[in-house]
Subunit: 133 residues, 2 copies
DNA sequence: CTAAATGGATTACGACGGTAATCCTTATCT
DNA sequence: AGATAAGGATTACCGTCGTAATCCATTTAG
């Protein structure tokens, strides 16, 4: 997969569901979207599914009279792509201002920080073990 | 300022410049945009300036025959707004997975972490001083 | 003085995205 | 069997966005 398609805000809702549970039929997806948020209209969901297929984010296969959808891109790939775009756009590539914002506005708790530190420590050790850079 | 306007990718380039240097005339802005990236066309910049004014992100005052622009929203406000939207869109509003992602993908350095901790420490103390809650 | 450049207002175009309808076919319900 | 619902393909509408032109008046350059 050379190129990660740009996924719009509304399409993210769909993709997040499909990444959680796939293969999934359009009917199941629509049910679950509605369960999460009643303002979803089935026709809208169908249109967006079609667009995601066109973009290369999803594929489908006929199953009886309905379609079963599966992702063509992983959640991590899309997060990566979206994150880079976002960081470039808003921060010119730097993460720090965003984290500072979340800290200042109390979205990042001491618990988050503690866990973050543990992850970071966990990450450092394998690198040291590898030796080279 | 109750509502932070949604600023598009291209508009961010303009806003970042104006936050750095304002008040600024349209001509100065156009010159600086072109200096950064030759693909900017003056007409495009003018259109986007007008839209940013319409959105409530900028204000202008006539100065001779040209206009002088100033931001109506701070960079911090816009970063905050954009960051929260990003978090909602890509991570369903949850901060922890985002932090974990950035750590795993080495976008968050030990230096960031250290600075983050300093901000967090700085934030905790004033609260304690206030006493209530 | 004339021609060219400049600055802003207005307009325009095509693509995109959210929202949904219409049409057709098939399946289900009464 | 007839009516209704469901599923998908196609179409449509409107606002947004990036891109830029046109028009007009004013300023600047030669």
């Amino acid at each position: 997969m050379l190129k990660i398609p740009k996924i719009t805000e509304t399409e993210w809702e769909i993709m997040r569901l499909i990444w959680t549970k796939h293969p999934i039929t359009s009917g199941e997806l629509i049910d679950q979207l509605s369960a999460q948020d009643r303002s979803w209209h089935p026709k809208t969901a169908r249109t967006l599914l079609g667009r995601l297929v066109k973009k290369g984010a999803l594929k489908y296969e006929p199953l009886g009279r309905s379609y079963v959808y599966e992702p063509l891109v992983t959640e991590e790939e899309c997060i990566g792509s979206a994150s880079e775009s976002f960081l470039d756009r808003v921060f010119g590539g730097s993460l720090q201002p965003m984290l500072a914002y979340f800290v200042k506005n109390q979205k990042l708790t001491k618990q988050d920080f503690k866990e973050l530190g543990e992850i970071l420590e966990g990450r450092e050790k394998p690198q040291n073990k590898r030796g080279k850079k």
